[in-house]
């Protein structure tokens, strides 16, 4: 039986006359890593801040652990670790002092876990937070959100500022959280990040839910742009256009560019390419917008 941890029901949020979130509904189940994906200004932060009762719904409601966010926000926050996308810290402290203070506010031991996380994330707990780089500050934000072992993590663009190595550590930490049966809801506008760890994603655009999908399905729908350059002149388009799953072929400045779908006939494609003297081969990930279009193209 799946157990619902977050349930967003017909949520609408307005800023003055502007509607930032429109009639949004989705659920997050216990033990999953749920991605909340959308381009800039889609309404992700608005939704997450409403979950934390910083702002209030203009319509609909949110329940976390079956508790309405308007009714008992403190009861929810005691069980949630939150990381803001615009994290600002009290800079007169160092990491350890901050965590010790959080222990007192939360009435939970945190320091030992925080030290373990700090080691993994390569963060110095005794260094003053003042003058720390953006990424360093994000690390203590992640540590503070995780160290009390909350049942639910609400992370607004957790990987901003993390370098690729730290990004990987972060992903491993999320998987560890899931293995312990805890739940993660994280927002992002980067599909590849979400692909790497999430089980399901909700895609939001201009305040409206586009789809809730298993990541596996989304990836199947996804495609890549393949860019080829050759030692001599570019290979002719003819021949490529007969391969299954290859479309939108063009040449520009001696570069051959084509769209390769997730279920393309790769074997034939590679063998076809091999007939020509290849100088370089590159893949571009599709943008979110392109994914949306593909998604709707298939649906229609």
């Amino acid at each position: 039986m799946t157990h619902t941890v977050v349930s967003i029901n017909n949520l609408t949020c307005r800023y003055g006359d502007f509607t930032a979130v429109k009639d949004l509904s989705f659920e997050v189940n216990q033990g999953e890593i749920f991605g909340f994906l959308g381009p800039n200004g889609a309404g992700k932060t608005t939704t997450l801040r409403t979950m934390m009762d910083f702002i209030r719904p203009d319509g609909g409601s949110i329940e976390v652990f079956g508790i309405d966010t308007r009714a008992e926000p403190e009861a929810i926050k005691a069980r949630v670790g939150f990381l803001s996308s615009e994290l600002v810290l009290w800079e007169n402290w160092n990491g350890e002092q901050y965590i010790r203070w959080l222990e007192k506010v939360r009435h939970k031991p945190m320091l030992e876990e925080a030290q373990r996380l700090a080691q993994l994330l390569d963060f110095e707990m005794k260094r003053s937070l003042q003058g720390m780089s953006t990424g360093m500050k994000r690390k203590i934000g992640v540590i503070a959100a995780l160290a009390h072992k909350p049942e639910l993590l609400i992370l607004d663009e957790p990987s901003i500022g993390l370098d690729p190595l730290m990004q990987q550590v972060f992903e491993e930490l999320m998987i560890e959280v899931r293995e312990e049966g805890r739940t993660v809801l994280l927002s992002s506008h980067d599909l590849s990040e979400v692909e790497a760890i999430c089980d399901r994603v909700a895609i939001i655009r201009e305040g409206e839910l586009q789809t809730v999908e298993n990541v596996a399905n989304l990836t199947r729908l996804a495609f890549r742009w393949m860019n080829l350059t050759f030692k001599d002149e570019a290979a002719p388009i003819e021949g490529f256009d007969r391969i299954n799953g290859v479309t939108d072929i063009s040449t520009e400045n001696g570069e051959l560019r084509m769209r390769v779908s997730g279920d393309a006939d790769m074997d034939t494609l590679i063998k076809h390419i091999a007939q020509y003297p290849v100088k370089d081969l590159q893949f571009d990930h599709p943008t979110l917008e392109e994914i949306f279009l593909t998604y709707y193209g298939r649906e229609a």
């Binding site: 800023y15 801040r49 934390m52 009762d53 910083f54 702002i55 209030r56 926000p73 403190e74 009861a75 926050k77 005691a78 949630v80 939150f82 803001s84 615009e86 994290l87 600002v88 810290l89 009290w90 007169n92 203070w101 959080l102 007192k104 506010v105 939360r106």
Partner: protein
């Protein structure tokens, strides 16, 4: 609750300590001028009688007929207390803004409210911080006077009267703090009027008070100014007017009521 309060007080402890030291040194220094003034009291009072009433009213809000610069309480009020109250009022206003609406704008309120603490607790912590600041500042006036006056023949105010006179200023400072809390809770953080309005009220009320004796319409609206309800020298010389204290206490509690009620409903950093 306590970790929150301790954090707020701790965060402002440097300002607190240096303000207290500054106030203490200033009061002790001003007192050292008193023997000269007391010796030539008649001459000073004669000169001061030639001053326009408005000028006297800028540093003495009481009955100008009672104004005698060689009276220890009046001397202390006009030369030190009024200015210190003005400075502290400005600082408290700034502190309240920093702890509320500015914290929202800087996204620091999100950090606090993502913890299992209620908005009521956060605001209460801030109010306690303002109260601590007021009391420490007033003590920095009180202590030097008590400590220095045994060494001065001409200067004597009974410590109990002095305490009553000085610490009643707490109510004035808390009215200003409460007003600022109320304004910051009412106004969305993207608007910019809460701070300017709080400062304008405080310093404007002080400046307008000066014209109350000579301009009728200002005199008519003068009950709206907090400085009307507190004058340390009058409390020491003529006793405490309970209605003044009551007005300040009631207004302060009412404004705090508004602040707590609106903060509960407020959308943070919007």
């Amino acid at each position: 609750m306590q970790p929150l309060m301790r954090k707020f007080v701790r965060d402002s402890r440097k300002t607190l300590i240096w303000t207290a030291i500054g106030v203490g040194v200033y009061v002790a220094m001003i007192m050292s001028f008193f023997p000269t003034i007391a010796e030539q009291g008649d001459q000073f009072n004669e000169i001061l009688e030639t001053y326009p009433e408005e000028i006297i009213a800028t540093f003495y809000s009481g009955d100008i007929a009672d104004f005698k610069i060689d009276d220890p309480a009046i001397f202390l009020q006009t030369e030190a207390v009024i200015w210190i109250i003005l400075i502290m009022g400005g600082m408290i206003t700034q502190q309240v803004l920093g702890g509320t609406i500015n914290a929202e704008r800087e996204n620091k309120m999100d950090l606090l409210l993502s913890l299992p603490v209620s908005r009521r607790e956060v605001l209460l912590g801030r109010v306690v911080n303002s109260a601590v600041f007021s009391l420490v500042g007033l003590t920095a006036i009180f202590l030097p006077v008590v400590l220095v006056q045994p060494f001065m023949e001409s200067f004597h105010i009974a410590p109990d009267k002095l305490a009553l006179g000085i610490y009643t200023g707490f109510f004035l400072l808390m009215v200003q703090a409460s007003l600022t809390f109320a304004l910051t809770s009412i106004s969305p953080s993207h608007t910019r009027w809460a701070g300017p309005l709080a400062f304008t009220y405080f310093f404007g009320a002080y400046l307008l008070m000066a014209f109350a004796p000579s301009i009728d319409w200002i005199d008519t609206i003068s009950p709206l100014f907090i400085f009307k309800y507190y004058n340390m020298a009058e409390i020491i010389n003529n006793g405490l007017e309970m209605t003044d204290v009551l007005v300040m206490a009631v207004v302060s509690v009412a404004l705090l009521g508004v602040a707590f009620w609106r903060f509960e409903k407020k959308e943070i950093a919007v």
